[in-house]
Homo-oligomer: 337 residues x 2
């Protein structure tokens, strides 16, 4: 297997990307291809490999980068020499099996659509993000931000694709699906959730009904399905809340007097907990609905996050998730049409 | 002033309502009217007033109650003898200055619309909830769940009404307004937020632009404006996250070994913090856009929450918020028409 990695994307590139690639490469037989400014990447990898050279990392040069300020579709069309466009083209042409990037989400989506292409029968690809559950098994939140406006059928496709991923990559048997809504009862919500509820109920998915936002952090379903606007709100608010609470507690427990009462020990515990919420540690978010495996890493991923993303991406490829989605959607569409 | 309170609404009624009314009544000269099963309420109040009788609480009998299972509009039309319908009618007829209830949000909205009536020029009334900020001043989140589908002009009205409330009741000078969106830059989001952005930018409000969900808990604006679907998601996810994190930390710090290390002291601190997040303590959520002051209390409000809601409701009436809204919207509509 060949794992293509965007060496230039994300807040901590290229350092964290190279370090993570080195960490991962030591434990696997697969080849890792780093795409980006070759000289920079070579130096960076050699720094992290130290005295134990690695022979399963190679490099492909890219002369430019796409930033978050670039208009995604335009950047994909014009920046032909960027790491994302080169990586996506390699993926499309079979010069690699999966593409991983911590770069612009919009550019990855646009590249997925314009270069790699949609799976036939899927109307809208989605970002399906692992949603960390404190003290429990993570859920998948889909769509986490690709489609700010959705039709009811899109939500059913998100649920189908996420269920396949959760079953095949995370080993959840018959994954449960819940629809984010403003009430648990059928008939609640806006026109999108009302119609999506009926479609999901009539599907072959293990649909458990509506879930209120307060229950999302409790891990009540394997797959949490929603439109990309709401999904993005949920993901970012979760992040903001965790950050805010941990910061406040840390401040409260380490100021003057209280610092004495064993607080430092407790702050350590707290940081452990905070880590459970760290998306960067969760192996990235697959973009599902396109013809090849593409994984978006959190922009702030550190080396460990990069490594775990690479390890999960291997399962994503080995379990042939894309083909399972392709076949499942054909069955669904065949029945529906 | 006469404060009408639904004695039968909420998870802790009538106990918490009566206890809260007693607590509030002792500190004010205004009259509190409890609506509900008179015998029950009289007994309950007499239990909490103990040996110091209170002369500023009176009772109005209501033979039935509206529950969360009732279809709101139908319940308002049919349950004429319910505490909500009686309370709303008293408010409409000038037999009281504000109506407070911890009962069904839907019924309060329906009652507000059908009995009390909309303010002319306001398209859709909204629930404007106080959003607690850890270690900072609370924001107002509007709409927090009344309108699951909104037009851009609705969001401008929510922002206007909330700004007036924040300025007059919470004393925020020239309150800042931010629009919940999936990116900070202009042009981000769905068609609703894109159009609302332009309308807000062209209004006289102190509009600061988009706010991402991760920044909502940081208290970056006095007024956080959004559609009722998203607002409900934000409110409930915030509640769920706080609950979940506090519970996990408490468990982690009180199990076996760790309990020794001064943890009990720290758990106390933690519970203090948790209280900062307790909506029930925040004086309820005004329903803005109707012709009289109506305040929705959290269903799980305790006696202290009931008391603080009563105290805030007094400011709501004294600062004449409804009239300020009425006059402001006439100016806005006059200019726009």
């Amino acid at each position: 297997m060949k794992i293509i990695i965007d060496g230039m994307g994300g807040d901590n590139a290229p350092e964290a990307i190279c370090e993570g690639a080195v960490l991962a490469a030591r434990g696997i037989d697969h080849e890792i291809v780093l795409v980006g400014d070759e000289e920079t990447l070579r130096k960076c990898v050699s720094k992290y490999q130290g005295r134990r050279p690695i022979d399963n990392i190679s490099f492909v040069n890219a002369g430019e980068s796409i930033t978050n300020d670039d208009a995604p579709a335009m950047a994909i069309r014009r920046k032909k020499d960027s790491s994302i466009v080169i990586g996506m083209n390699m993926l499309k042409n079979g010069e690699g099996d999966v593409f991983i990037s911590a770069g612009s989400t919009g550019a990855l989506l646009a590249g997925g659509l314009l270069i790699v292409g949609r799976i036939k029968g899927i109307d809208r690809p989605a970002i399906c993000s692992i949603y960390p559950i404190l003290g429990g098994m993570a859920s998948m939140l889909c769509d986490a931000g690709a489609n700010s406006e959705c039709k009811p059928r899109n939500l059913v496709e998100f649920a189908l694709m996420s269920s396949i991923y959760m079953e095949n990559v995370l080993g959840r048997e018959n994954p449960s699906v819940a629809l984010v809504n403003i009430g648990e009862e059928k008939g609640k919500g806006n026109s999108l959730t009302k119609e999506a509820y009926d479609l999901l109920m009539n599907s072959d998915l293990n649909f458990k009904g509506n879930i209120e936002a307060r229950d999302v952090p409790k891990g009540k379903a394997d797959v949490i399905v929603t439109d990309g606007f709401t999904g993005n709100i949920i993901l970012k608010l979760t992040e903001g809340m965790a950050w805010n609470i941990f910061k406040t507690i840390k401040n409260k427990f380490t100021d003057g007097l209280h610092a004495r009462v064993g607080s430092l020990f407790l702050v350590d515990k707290l940081m452990e907990l905070k880590k459970e919420f760290d998306y960067a540690e969760y192996g990235g978010a697959p973009i599902l609905g396109i013809n090849k495996p593409v994984v978006k890493m959190h922009g702030s991923s550190g080396a460990k996050g990069v490594k775990s993303t690479i390890m999960k991406a291997i399962d994503f490829v080995e379990e042939d998730v894309i083909n399972v989605i392709r076949e499942s959607i054909q069955v669904v569409r065949g029945i529906n049409d």
